[in-house]
């Protein structure tokens, strides 16, 4: 289980997370949605210790990530696969070496085992036979699939996806969504998917949580979110330019003017 407990994180004057609390249950796929720049990626980077919270905690299986020793954090990271927004493949390595890199860190795995695990992972993302290619020779969608293969080759217990379909055409996005579902079925992993693509969220998610102004605005099953009465969540899932968020902005602005404040904006 992954728990975000009253998490606060700021970068200078920019307060990103302000009391973010969320529980991801074992075996489920939790989708976190929200506007660009609201801290979705920041939140999941705390899970693997890439960022440390200003206040609050992130716990994985009861272990508070920020309190782990370097060795314990390395051990925890070995159980978590992270799929980066732009794949983050190593330019100077072949696709094989990219996928094999994490496996080479594991003790007791022979080169033969590594080769078969790499082939298996690439086959799962429909990229068998690309082992000798370099990342620059692949399209954006293929690179993302290699990023996914690199994560699943480690047979992790948790998979974190940072905007897996951003920048892809609808067909490639649907392929990635299928892969996320297939990976969950094949490996039985607990997943957190960051996205603002609602079609993707409905396809891959068991539950959906909306991050808004640094904290969770609403969390619920796909059906609950689809039927939400919250105007901010409604506006987001329907992708309308006007609605709850715009109304909230106007209300804040009016309140600011009544108080004699200038430049008040949501």
């Amino acid at each position: 289980m992954i728990e975000f407990r009253d998490l606060y994180k700021a970068f200078g004057a920019n307060r990103v997370l302000e009391g973010f609390t969320l529980e991801v249950r074992d075996g489920e796929t939790m989708v976190i949605i929200g506007y660009s720049g609201t801290g979705k990626s920041v939140a999941i980077k705390h899970v693997v210790g890439l960022l440390e919270p200003d206040a609050g905690q992130v716990a994985v299986d009861g272990q508070v990530v920020a309190e782990l020793s370097r060795a314990a954090l390395t051990g925890l990271r070995a159980t978590i696969g992270f799929v980066f927004q732009f794949a983050a493949l190593f330019d100077s390595m072949t696709i094989f070496d990219n996928v094999a890199l994490g496996l080479r860190r594991r003790p007791g795995i022979s080169e033969g085992d590594i080769a078969s695990r790499v082939a298996e992972a690439l086959a799962l993302v429909d990229l068998a036979g690309t082992e000798r290619l370099m990342p620059a020779e692949l399209s954006g969608g293929m690179r993302k699939r290699v990023g996914l293969a690199r994560a699943i080759a480690l047979k992790p217990r948790y998979l974190l996806y940072d905007e897996p379909t951003t920048g892809l055409d609808p067909v490639t996005s649907a392929v990635i969504d299928q892969l996320i579902v297939r990976t969950r079925e094949a490996l039985g992993v607990t997943s957190v998917v960051i996205t603002h693509d609602m079609r993707s969220a409905y396809t891959v998610g068991d539950r959906i949580a909306m991050l808004y102004r640094g904290r969770i605005r609403q969390v619920g099953t796909v059906a609950e979110i689809r039927a939400t009465a919250d105007p901010v969540v409604r506006q987001f899932i329907e992708g309308r330019p006007d609605g709850g968020r715009a109304a909230e902005r106007a209300s804040l602005s009016q309140t600011g003017q009544e108080l004699g404040l200038e430049g008040v904006d949501a």
């Binding site: 980077k45 693997v48 210790g49 890439l50 370097r70 390395t74 990271r77 070995a78 978590i80 696969g81 992270f82 980066f84 927004q85 732009f86 983050a88 493949l89 190593f90 330019d91 890199l101 994490g102 860190r105 690199r150 480690l154």
Partner: protein
Amino acid sequence: MVTSLGRRSIGLVTGFGQFGRFLGNVARALPDVRTWGGLTAQQMRRLGVDSLPIALFIAAFTGIVLALLASYVMTGAVPPYLVGTLVTKTITMELGPVLTGLALAGRVGANIAAELGTMRVTEQVDALETLAYNPYAFLVIPRVLAGLVMFPVVVAFAMGMGIFTGWLTATNLLPITNAEFMRGARLFFMPFDVWYGLLKSASFGFVITLIGCHLGLATRGGAEGVGRATTRTVVYSAEMILVLDAYWAVTLLRGHFQ
């Protein structure tokens, strides 16, 4: 003005603090031999062997100019064989290490900062961490070790090339025979001269790679940030080469006058 001074002071202290933290992280990654051991040889080739052409090119022309300059300065005043002395001593102790160091600050330092900076802004460094690698063991230590070991090797070749072209120039363009040049070269030669030059170049290699790695990993803000890190690496490395050059002269040469 006071505000500006205060901001600069804070920036300076913060910069030293970040560099201190970087050094601490490097020191903590040292026991992870399993990671950096296999990668160091690859970096030695990239940083050292691939730098040989530029180092030899610079040394070749330095040797030519030095021989002609020595002859010009000493005309009629001192015996011509001292051209051999001047070329050998200057190339070995000063111009070989310093000119090669400055050239490699551009080639190696900028390369490291750009590569690591790009890796930072494209999340490749984060990806390494999520794959349970220590980025300091994987990226920094192999480069710094390669710089420390390979800079003296490159400079040794540069020394040889500079002396060779100096000899070639002296014996073909100046009224100096091979015997005279060799006599001058041997007359004041001390093994210390070579060690001095190689020690300096090792320190240059250490500092250039360390600065490149630090500024590369500290890169923020996309392509502009990578460009800034690269420029700063070259500038700081060049400054540090001159500072270290003076430091080694003060600490190792001053004793010879006493």
